[in-house]
């Protein structure tokens, strides 16, 4: 064994820079994003999908996916799943509606209480998982039903209906509501309209105002959560612990990583993301419905898997998950713009999920050198 000089093993082929650059979790999502945009520019380019209004349309839908995908991504890298995300969205929305409309408490109190409640449920999920050692799949499946059941039960019991409206009126003048339901950059869009760069209303009470009059806070939340999660994951000590907890919990424990705490915190973060989604939605619609968020947990997981994360944990990328969410939003809205039957979206989801998982397995083999 030589201890000096570079030892080159003659059996290892030189790996090209290109190949190295390609071997990253986001690869599939990047390729997918380019393909999806190319497809819709060709087939729906003149349908208004890429004017200001169209862009806002699919960006908003994508942003919704991004918010829950970021949470699901961090949790999946830490080695766990949360199937209760969709029910949590319905539950959080209903909680805000009941506290603000039925109880007549200020909206900001309703929002803060709901966040506390959701994060507590997330912590409970995580606590049960790490204490019992049961698969998170089962534990959170239980909460999928528990939370959805309560979401239907309480409004029926209290208001004798499953949709509670009137939140917009309550939220008017509230200091916290605009953080979720407001828009930013209004003056910039007015300026764009004056420069005649974007379309304005031709008739009606808002004639002369730009059709797109600001960026919804939903998009700001999506970008903010994505950037923070990405930095935490790739640039901090805590991020290393998240990878370690999902990569091999026992090996991580041996070197002193607080694996249980990390996992519980990731469950709480996922709950927080679901709550952000729900709050933005409730503020936008002005109402809460008991069926909100249905199937969102699977859409979040699919976006994360398209983004290159491994279902087994320990590997993945927030940027990838966000791109996966963008693919979703663009395809869902793009099919509408292209005039394609929207039920085909489900077919697309299934197909792309399958391709993503196959590609990821292949990439993992290259990384770990398995054969």
């Amino acid at each position: 064994m030589s201890s000096t000089g570079v030892v080159v093993d003659e059996r290892i082929k030189e790996t090209s820079k290109l190949r190295q650059a390609l071997i990253r979790p986001e690869l599939g999502a990047i390729v997918g994003t380019i393909a999806v945009f190319a497809f819709f520019i060709v087939f729906a380019g003149d349908s208004g999908m890429f004017n200001a209004q169209g862009v806002l349309n699919w960006s908003t839908v994508s942003a919704q996916f991004v918010i829950i995908a970021v949470g699901a991504c961090m949790l999946m890298i830490a080695g766990e799943f949360d199937l209760s995300v969709g029910s949590m969205i319905g539950f959080a929305g209903m909680s805000i509606a009941i506290i603000s409309v039925t109880l007549q408490w200020p909206v900001w109190i309703a929002i803060l209480l709901t966040f506390a409640l959701c994060i507590a449920v997330g912590a409970l999920n995580g606590f049960i998982v790490v204490r019992t050692g049961l698969p998170s799949f089962i534990v959170t499946l239980a909460f999928l039903f528990i939370l959805r059941g309560f979401t239907i039960f309480f409004p029926q019991l209290i208001e004798r209906r499953t949709i509670i409206g009137g939140i917009s009126e309550k939220a008017a003048g509230d200091w916290l509501a605009p953080v979720f339901g407001g828009k930013v950059g209004g003056s910039f869009f007015n300026w764009l309209a004056e420069m005649e760069l974007i379309a304005v209303f031709e008739r009606g009470t808002r004639a002369g105002e730009p059709i797109v009059n600001g960026i919804p806070m939903l998009i700001i939340w999506a970008l903010g959560l994505m950037i923070i999660a990405h930095v935490v994951l790739t640039r901090t000590r805590f991020g290393n612990w998240i990878f370690a907890a999902g990569g091999d919990a026992q090996a991580a424990r041996y070197v002193g990583v607080p694996v249980d705490r990390v996992k519980i915190q990731m469950f709480m973060f996922t709950a927080f993301c679901a709550c952000v989604f729900a709050t933005c939605q409730v503020m936008e619609f002005g109402s809460a419905g008991a069926d909100r968020g249905l199937l969102k947990e699977f859409e979040a997981i699919i976006a994360v898997v398209i983004g290159g994360a491994l279902l087994t944990g320990g590997y993945g990328s927030v940027i990838g998950a966000a791109l996966g969410a963008l693919i979703f939003g663009v395809v869902q809205q793009g099919l509408f713009f292209a005039g394609v039957e929207s039920s085909l979206f489900r077919v697309f989801l299934g197909v792309i999920l399958l391709f993503a998982v196959i590609l990821n397995t292949y990439i993992r083999r290259i990384i770990t050198g398995e054969r």
Binding site: R237, N240, G247, D248, V255, T368, E370
Partner: protein, 263 residues
């Protein structure tokens, strides 16, 4: 041997460990001095794993005492033992294959850099130290971002050993580091053990391969059925004697006869 002038870093006296009705260890005594490689041999089920886990703070002994640097000690957790300077490299749980060498090397003890109230992991320092520590052990990494999964079994063991040495281990416990390796990789790991020993660290080398033990060992202790069969110094024992002790004497003689003396 010069190292024998020193007092032991860790001394285990008459350690007993019972798991319910099972007596896994029935009075084992063992010590490690700075700069020596003390081999712990024994067949499967002899109690090697239980014994090193007791030393590493995973199990608490039912009876017996542990002296660390002359003082009586009781470790409540692996973390306790680690803080004291007892590092263990487990055979298969040492590394996380999907993570980079640097991330593995620093796992649990990441260096941080402050930017105002924000703390980031200091990847520049982490990468540099990882590269240089690995170079000291004779491994030239392509890049510190390389996933551990791309390393060979021997290289993974070396990363784990380098990590323990870097973080100030005084005693390094190696749990069958060569059992799953090929000839060449075994030689690499054995030479790493030799390098580490020369820096004054005491090594506990667990193996059931007599040849590997004799290649680097200064002293040899054989465990059988939860008891110490004895400790021998280098040069006082032949490979055959060691083999017989491990396997429990007579049965082995009979077996060897039937196999033409090849075992």
């Amino acid at each position: 041997m010069g190292s024998f002038d020193h007092n032991p870093i860790i001394e285990m006296r008459n350690i007993e460990k019972h798991f319910g009705p099972v007596i896994a260890l029935n009075g084992v005594s063992f010590d490690v001095r700075p700069g020596e490689c003390h081999c712990l041999l024994g067949d499967n089920g002899a109690g090697k794993s239980t014994f090193i886990k007791t030393m590493a703070g995973v199990h608490k002994p039912t009876k017996g005492e542990i002296l660390f640097e002359g003082r009586q000690m009781s470790f409540d957790s692996p973390r306790d033992a680690m803080e004291a300077g007892i590092a263990t490299v487990y055979q298969d749980l040492a590394m996380i294959p999907l993570m980079s060498v640097t991330r593995n090397f620093w796992m649990g003890r990441e260096p941080v850099k402050r930017f105002g109230p924000l703390m980031f992991m200091d990847f520049k320092t982490a990468n540099e130290v990882t590269m240089s520590e690995m170079r000291k052990m004779g491994i030239n990494l392509r890049s510190p971002d390389q996933a551990v999964g791309t390393l060979s079994g021997g290289e993974r063991q070396t990363v784990a050993i380098a990590r323990a040495v870097h973080f100030g281990a005084k005693v390094l416990i190696l749990d069958e580091p060569t059992s799953a390796l090929g000839v060449r990789q075994t030689a690499n790991v054995l030479s790493t053990i030799d390098k580490v020993r020369k820096t004054g660290i005491g090594i506990v080398f667990i193996t059931h391969n007599v040849r590997h033990a004799l290649a680097v060992g200064d002293r040899f202790t054989v465990l059988n059925r939860g008891k110490t069969l004895g400790t021998a110094q280098r040069g006082q024992i032949t490979p055959e004697e060691l083999q017989d002790l491990m396997a429990g004497g007579q049965e082995m003689v009979a077996l060897e006869g039937s196999l033409g003396g090849t075992v």
